[in-house]
């Protein structure tokens, strides 16, 4: 059991003929993911490494291969369109890696997705992995191992660090979901915590949050009322100066709710232990599970 993806997930890679698309399509294949199709408009009929057929559209890819999840590497100006194309083709899970999509594009995309079945992860995210089953994203596969901890994060490389610390201690992961660093994105922290709560394979939850927005507070409120699974959290950006953009467009502190302090208080009020040092995420999680 897992959330979002498993061995049966069939992936189409949008932007497969681009540099990042090709590199990560191969990496996902190497990990064992069923990458069954690629899409690059105008390149229909080609093949990647003589095994993954490339189509002009997601609709054609779906008809030919039955793909049910999409991994998007389309550059920022066309990424919103790529997301909506996948949704219109009836793809149930869309993982958008693309960085730098204008905020208003995502506002429009999410308005279009409203009321639809499609789940969007990202953009500007590392993707999702269920270790030893399916990797749809850009995370290094080898740092993961199967196990009981569900990891949800707004960051990319910081998640790798957290996962690495867990795996080094022998603590495996049920699924790891990077929801992305942009201010307006798909699946939220609370929703993923809710999925982990309902997932029998997940025994404990790790949240990697950061400055900006209000999602940590929502996740904390959900956990407090509706979950008994062990949990721990780390928050990045305690030292970030207010008003400046720290790489992630979503990580600008614009109001009091966005500060690490406010989020830490919310976690503490919910009874969620907050790990203070990024070097102690593994040990902190082990403590929470003890």
């Amino acid at each position: 059991m897992s959330i979002l993806v498993d061995r049966s997930t069939r992936v189409v890679v949008q932007g497969i003929t681009g540099k990042a698309g090709t590199f990560h399509a191969r990496a996902c294949l190497d990990y064992g993911t069923s990458v069954v199709a690629g899409v690059t408009p105008g390149r229909g009929g080609q093949k990647l490494d003589e095994r993954v057929p490339v189509f002009d559209s997601v609709a054609e890819a779906k008809e030919a291969t039955g793909c049910n999840a999409s991994l998007i590497f389309v550059p920022a100006p066309g990424a919103a369109d790529a997301i909506l194309e996948a949704a219109a083709a009836g793809i149930g899970l869309i993982v958008c890696i693309t960085e730098g999509i204008p905020t208003i594009d995502m506002v429009r995309v999410l308005a279009c997705l409203e009321g639809k079945e499609t789940r969007l992860i990202g953009p500007n995210c590392p993707g999702v992995i269920t270790p030893a089953e399916c990797k749809i994203g850009i995370m290094p596969g080898y740092i993961h191992r199967p196990g009981p901890v569900g990891v949800v994060s707004r960051s990319g490389t910081l998640t790798y660090e957290a996962v690495w610390q867990l795996s080094q201690r022998g603590i495996g992961q049920s699924s790891c979901v990077g929801i992305g660093g942009d201010p307006v994105h798909g699946l939220g922290l609370r929703e993923v915590v809710e999925m982990f709560e309902g997932d029998p394979a997940t025994e404990a939850i790790l949240i990697i949050g950061e400055i900006g927005g209000f999602e940590e507070q929502e996740a904390a409120a959900f956990w407090k009322t509706s979950s008994r699974k062990p949990i721990a959290a780390f928050l990045a950006g305690a030292t970030a100066p207010p008003g400046r953009r720290m790489g992630h467009a979503g990580a600008v502190i614009t109001g009091a709710a966005g500060t690490v302090k406010a989020k830490m208080e919310a976690f503490e009020a919910a009874g969620i232990p907050v790990i203070l040092s990024p070097a102690e995420i593994g040990s902190g999680m082990a403590r929470a599970m003890a």
């Binding site: 990042a20 590199f23 990560h24 920022a76 100006p77 960085e99 730098g100 999509i101 204008p102 905020t103 208003i104 594009d105 995502m106 506002v107 429009r108 999410l110 308005a111 850009i138 995370m139 290094p140 740092i143 994060s153 707004r154 960051s155 990319g156 490389t157 910081l158 998640t159 790798y160 660090e161 690495w164 660093g181 201010p183 307006v184 990697i208 950061e210 400055i211 900006g212 927005g213 209000f214 780390f234 990045a236 950006g237 305690a238 030292t239 970030a240 100066p241 400046r244 953009r245 720290m246 790489g247 992630h248 467009a249 979503g250 990580a251 203070l276 040092s277 990024p278 070097a279 102690e280």
Partner: protein
């Protein structure tokens, strides 16, 4: 990316917003010329810096006020002479203040009433929001704290957009009636069009004023843009260079790096924004301060790495450098090659601590070792931070 007030005014004027006549000036003589071209009195001279609280600010020279009313062009010239080239300290600049290189000289209409109006993206509701208050001209955060009921918000459906009736309802909630109701609603509609068509991230008019003759005027405007969308607004993107006051940030911008200059002593190069923030956090926990935020990202090439490392090495505040890479898209060997190349141009003046993990980390470590350069390696994050802090203390 926030722009200067004079730039914001120019952009807003194209949308027909009611902006008192005025112009930017960068010398006392130019300020006088601008003043002579304006018809109404009094005039106002405003220091152009990217921080608020200018009115109550003070120059390091002792001159008070970054916003000054003047009766005639001669007085404008005198005030301009006092401000230009000075450093203005306000509640928002920090004690180091900001250099004043440009002034706005404009007509100062007689204000009857001050309102507040802003448009921004509400990330929780995933749509644009209008924020207004009948208490403008003051710090809106303070109004939000003390009189939250005096702040009024509406959310705009991004599909159907803002309709004039919503703008009128909004203006009515700000207490406007009669012809002012329609004029203010028109301002709101135009401002929303500006916001959407230019990918603004924030437009804040404070105050939006009711002035003499039942008119509405934009007295001060703070405008920020979505950096992700600058690719479709080349003109606005062109403002960027004028805006950067920190020379390190100017260098980083040219190399397309995510860099924020800070005031600490440890230069950091990290991949990924979250990891970069966490790295800054752990330095602080070790009792040190980062000299910068620098995320080399996943897509950087070797040349960018060379430049990034060069910026850290050239920073006189830096006492030690911490390179922290968890390879994902980014390959550790590329980072190592970039460092070696940068160090071949200039000898390191400060100790360097490196932690590599993830994609190709072994190859990266080998490259650094083979180079024979005096680089300390660390195995985990705690070790890396401690070594960097210790090295900075030795160097200091």
């Amino acid at each position: 990316m926030n722009v200067f007030e004079y730039q914001a005014r120019d952009l807003l004027a194209r949308y027909g917003l009611p902006i008192p006549p005025g112009h930017v000036a960068s010398s006392p003589e130019e300020a006088r010329q601008v003043a002579e071209g304006l018809t109404k009195r009094p005039l106002v001279v405003k220091a152009q810096i990217l921080a608020g609280g200018r009115g109550k600010g003070r120059f390091l020279s002792g001159f008070t006020g970054g916003v000054r009313l003047c009766g005639d062009p001669a007085q404008v010239e005198g005030v301009a002479r006092a401000m230009l080239g000075g450093v203005l300290v306000t509640a928002q600049t920090g004690p180091e203040g900001r250099p004043v290189n440009r002034l706005l000289v404009a007509e100062a209409p007689q204000i009857v009433r001050e309102l507040y109006l802003a448009i921004l993206i509400d990330r929780e509701r995933r749509c644009p929001a209008l924020v207004g208050s009948s208490r403008g001209g003051v710090d809106i955060e303070e109004v939000a704290r003390k009189n939250p009921e005096e702040i009024y918000r509406i959310w705009i459906d991004p599909q159907s957009g803002l309709w004039p009736y919503q703008a009128r309802g909004f203006a009515a909630r700000l207490g406007l009636r009669g012809s002012l109701l329609n004029r203010a609603a028109d301002v709101v509609v135009r401002l929303y069009r500006f916001f959407c068509e230019n990918d603004a991230s924030l437009v804040e008019i404070n105050p939006l004023a009711v002035v003499e003759d039942e008119e509405i005027a934009v007295i001060d405007a703070k405008v920020g843009f979505d950096e992700n969308a600058l690719f479709r607004h080349p003109e606005i993107a062109g403002y960027r260079e004028e805006l950067i006051e920190d020379t390190r940030e100017a260098e980083a911008m040219k190399a397309r790096l995510n860099y924020v200059g800070l005031s600490g002593e440890i230069g950091c190069m990290v991949n990924g924004a979250g990891l970069a923030m966490a790295t800054m956090d752990i330095l602080q926990r070790c009792g040190a301060e980062p000299a910068n935020f620098l995320d080399v990202g996943g897509g950087a090439d070797q040349d960018q790495v060379v430049k990034a490392f060069g910026i850290l090495m050239a920073d006189p505040k830096v006492r030690s450098i911490l390179v922290h890479i968890f390879g994902g898209i980014m390959r550790c060997d590329l980072i190592a090659r970039g460092m070696v190349e940068a160090l071949s141009h200039a000898k390191p003046k400060v100790p360097i601590v490196v932690r590599l993990q993830g994609t190709n980390f072994e190859e990266g470590k080998e490259i650094l070792q083979r180079s024979g350069l005096p680089i300390r390696t660390a195995d985990d994050l705690a070790d890396a931070a401690e070594q960097a802090v210790a090295a900075a203390r030795e160097a200091g």
